[in-house]
């Protein structure tokens, strides 16, 4: 057997062993050694006394298992809360958690697309992809250390500032901690081997390492997601909070929707940060060659971000639907109560993202010869995006004075109020997605002419799909105003499915339509105007701000509960702050994150710099 095959085999075996160790830990260490009544091997005719004794023992064991910690005599912390100076405990934990999550998202996302790009390079034998994947991976090692440091800081902050609540979470999730720790070690092993092993192993072995890194990273995310989603939609515990089933606690209502939503959002976020890195390097580039490289890298990063961003609202629907399924009260608090205005802020952010993404694509068409023929369409796309943005950002109840309210005849504007409901907003966001997708399709074909015999039919079919789906989505949106609430809620599903159908079918047609297409104009990488790079940075800032804001609403939904409906927050911070205050905290966190990520960029760029030389040229 060759050395390469042996190495590949070893990596596979190591990965399998790692998975078995983690999975087996639960069974071999935790379950097998848990206290329980010895299993009888011989059935005896029991006397009533023996039966009573056995029952008592069993009852005692059962009681131990289901009672809350304080009833078991396990000394919970005497202190329920401790104060953090100046900013308070809540803001301290909020900021640390947010920074930890932002870095964690980046560290989980980059390996996903680094692996995909590396794989493309492996299949196409194009070294540029391999180099690009390596450049993305260079950002990982420092980020991983920062993620771990912030994670440790978060744990300490929780233990010190919220000791009793942290005890409770540890009681519920004690079975998950050991697998988590082992997976974390595995993550470090895979990550550093993947990074330092670049070019040192055969491509297959290296790709296998990348797969291992992604699997372990995803498993870590799944465990951590269980902890935080349990706090909002608890399951597997009694009304008093006693643990009934760890698996149910893990598999709570929000767990799977958050897993999916986070996975997609992480990729979008990671892509945007990587694109911002490329923009940073582009703006500081000294040569045309360097600019061309970072222009391409920025394009790839942004492409990844937008491709992941398009299905994100659908994952958001699923998440919101599960929140409603858990508690309509919580759902209504989110969309119609204390947090309803937050979604107007979200609309502004997402609108900015869509506009930024489209603008970057349109500017990008300037570097492709042959794109001039599509320029005329841009203004129409801009009008649709602006209209959809306006609808999405229209509140149900505008901010008015009492006099204005009297004039309107209530808190809803007679005309604009109709645009503030979900029927209008769902329609607007679906059309925004379709329009951005259309921008991308136009960008993609800018320098190409299809040569297949059915080119005209193919283009007509694509146009037909766009028009039909846009029409259907609009029809369902209007229908929503005239049907019962039970029917209206269900209309968002066909809207989403039809848009997904458009994304899928148009892409499939496009792939075959442009197979072997004639190039009518080369892409002149590096000729993008500087403003396009600032757009990439703007998109990254907006993505980060959006993630931080949505992290706040996900957590803030619990209001005055640590664990919704189970463990009440009795601290001085139990109130829900104003959105103004929340956005200030979010902004500070985002700026701190960019300060730290700037440090990561700087460190990553050091590897390309010349070695230090003694200015006096001495050798001694």
């Amino acid at each position: 057997m060759s050395k390469r095959k042996l190495l590949l085999l070893s990596v596979c075996v190591a990965a399998v062993i790692m998975v078995l160790v983690v999975a087996g830990t639960k069974v071999l260490v935790v379950f097998e050694n848990a206290y329980r009544t010895p299993v009888e091997t011989v059935q005896l005719d029991r006397t009533p006394a023996m039966q009573g004794e056995a029952d008592a023992l069993a009852a005692a064991a059962e009681e131990q298992r289901t009672r809350p910690l304080e009833e078991l005599g396990v000394p919970l912390k005497d202190v329920e809360y401790r104060a953090f100076p100046v900013i308070g405990s809540r803001v301290a934990v909020w900021s640390i958690a947010q920074l930890h999550l932002l870095f964690a998202a980046f560290v989980l996302a980059v390996p996903i697309f680094a692996l995909i790009i590396e794989f493309i390079g492996y299949v196409t034998k194009d070294k540029r992809y391999d180099e690009l994947a390596y450049e993305f991976t260079k950002l990982l090692s420092v980020s991983f250390s920062l993620t771990a440091a912030l994670g440790a800081a978060l744990t300490f902050a929780l233990i010190i500032l919220y000791p009793r609540f942290t005890d409770y979470l540890m009681h519920v999730f004690s079975l998950t901690f050991l697998p988590y720790a082992l997976l974390f070690f595995a993550e470090a092993g895979f990550l550093y081997t993947y990074y330092y092993g670049w070019g040192k192993f055969s491509p297959k072995v290296h790709l296998a390492l990348g797969i291992g890194l992604n699997l372990v990273g995803t498993a870590i995310m799944l465990i951590a997601n269980a902890w935080l989603t349990f706090m909002t939609t608890p399951r597997g515990v009694s009304e008093a909070g006693a643990l009934i089933s760890t698996w149910d606690a893990v598999n709570n209502y929000m767990w799977m929707p958050i897993n999916i939503h986070r996975f997609i959002a992480n990729v979008a976020f990671g892509g945007s940060i990587a694109a911002a890195y490329a923009a940073f390097k582009f703006l500081h580039a000294d040569s045309e060659e360097e600019r061309a490289h970072y222009d391409w890298m920025g394009y790839v990063g942004n492409f990844i971000a937008i491709v992941a961003f398009l299905p994100l609202p659908f994952a958001g629907y699923y998440l919101a639907a599960e929140i409603y399924a858990f508690s309509q009260t919580m759902g209504l608090t989110m969309m119609g109560g204390a947090f309803s205005w937050l979604f107007i802020i979200q609309a502004v952010l997402i609108g900015c993202l869509f506009i930024g993404a489209n603008l970057y694509l349109w500017l990008g068409m300037g570097r492709i010869e042959g794109a001039q023929r599509y320029r005329g369409y841009i203004k129409y796309l801009l009008v649709v995006i602006a209209l959809c943005f306006a609808v999405w950002a229209t509140p149900r109840s505008p901010i008015t004075t009492p006099a204005e309210m009297r004039e309107m005849g209530g808190s809803f504007h007679p005309i604009l109020g109709k645009l503030g409901v979900m029927s209008a907003k769902n329609t607007a966001v679906n059309l925004l997605i379709l329009t951005t997708f259309l921008s991308f399709i136009i960008y993609r074909r800018s320098g190409l002419t299809p040569v297949v015999s059915w080119a005209k039919t193919g283009k007509a079919a694509q146009l037909l799909v766009f028009i039909a789906v846009a029409g259907y989505v609009t029809y369902l949106g209007i229908l929503g105003y005239f049907v019962d609430t039970t029917v209206r809620i269900g209309l968002s599903v066909p809207q989403v499915l039809s848009v997904l159908f458009a994304l899928f079918s148009v892409t499939v047609i496009d792939i075959f339509l442009f197979r072997g297409a004639r190039t009518i104009g080369e892409t002149r990488w590096g000729t993008m105007p500087a403003i396009s790079q600032y757009i990439l940075i703007f998109i990254a800032v907006t993505f980060t701000w959006l993630m931080a804001l949505m992290g706040y609403v996900r957590s803030g939904l619990r209001q005055h509960w640590h664990v919704y409906g189970v463990i009440r927050d009795t601290s001085p911070d139990a109130f829900t702050p104003t959105l103004g205050f929340a956005t200030k905290v979010v902004s500070v966190n985002v700026l701190v994150f960019f300060g730290l990520i700037g440090f990561v960029f700087w460190l990553a760029s050091l590897s390309g710099k010349k070695d230090w030389e003694d200015p006096e040229g001495s050798v001694s």
Binding site: V483, V541, W561, T578, L591
Partner: protein, 283 residues
């Protein structure tokens, strides 16, 4: 003078966050305090009850997060305008107070046609209003198109009124005490224990002096297990350490067939737990 790109980047990042922060300041600012239990005197007037009830409905009761008052069209939840009079005719056999009481304590028992179930049980977490607070909310609801008859002394099936239905309310002697009694009976752990077939396998009668209890007797389960443990064994017989896996499966299947998992509400199971946990001697 050419501004270095790094400075531009910093200015852009700060400007973008400042813009989003500004948007955050432009929307309505409302701080939501954590609700506190209200101490309500027993001798307050009806008007005071209505005032307090309104405050609770708008605040900690979060009724108006979902329900509207005086709106029509495609609504997500029933509008409360006129509920004070409508309540008495919603369910045959239940008077206005009984209907409102049932709607708050057991909201899924009756769902208005055209709407989905989903209202939380008001006396349980996360809302967790006290019985007295709920009486004031009922007074407020009755005031919406009707005349409040409820007082702070009103007793009903859910606040210790027992099987007598509503008492202490001005219209308590009217229609519906029999229905309320039925409602109470439906929640009685004793009857549920029998109706779900538990009694076919388990005895609850204490054994006579000197005699052994029959197999699977639960007469003393309340002294051996607490509420949580009893609940856990009902929800999942695998939690009973003395049962083998196959026996646990048999038990589960029997309970499933009897409708314990498919039909019984959590309140009914809780009622059975309460019944089993009650002391009945016979050690």
């Amino acid at each position: 003078m050419k501004i270095p790109p790094s400075v531009n980047i910093v200015v852009l990042a700060v400007a973008a966050t400042a813009f989003y922060t500004l948007v955050g300041q432009l929307v309505p600012q409302k701080e939501v305090p954590a609700p506190e239990v209200m101490e309500i005197s027993k001798d307050i007037s009806t008007e005071e009850m209505i005032e307090i009830g309104k405050e609770i409905a708008q605040g900690k009761g979060i009724c108006l997060t979902c329900h509207t008052i005086g709106r029509s069209g495609a609504l997500r939840f029933p509008d409360l305008e006129g509920i004070g009079t409508r309540a008495a005719s919603r369910i045959p056999g239940l008077n206005g107070v009984q209907y409102l009481v049932q709607s708050l304590y057991e909201p899924d028992a009756y769902v208005v046609e055209g709407f989905n179930p989903g209202m939380p049980t008001i006396n349980k977490a996360p809302i967790g209003l006290t019985d007295d607070e709920i009486l004031t909310v009922i007074a407020y609801m009755q005031s919406l198109g009707g005349s409040p008859s409820v007082t702070m002394e009103t007793k009903h099936a859910y606040n210790g009124g027992g099987e007598e239905g509503v008492s202490g309310a001005a219209d308590a002697s009217g229609e519906g005490p029999a229905a309320a009694a039925l409602e109470t009976a439906a929640l009685s752990g004793d009857s549920l224990f029998k109706s779900y077939g538990c009694a076919e396998c388990h005895s609850i009668a204490p054994p006579a002096a000197g005699e052994a209890p029959p197999p699977r007797s639960l007469h003393d389960v309340g002294t051996r297990l607490d509420h949580n443990a009893i609940l856990a064994t009902i929800l999942d017989p695998d939690n009973i350490p003395t049962l083998s896996e196959s026996k646990a499966q048999e038990k589960k299947a029997a309970m499933e067939a009897a409708g314990v998992y498919g039909k019984a509400t959590l309140d009914e199971i809780q009622a059975i737990v309460e019944f089993l946990a009650a002391p009945r001697g016979g050690e």
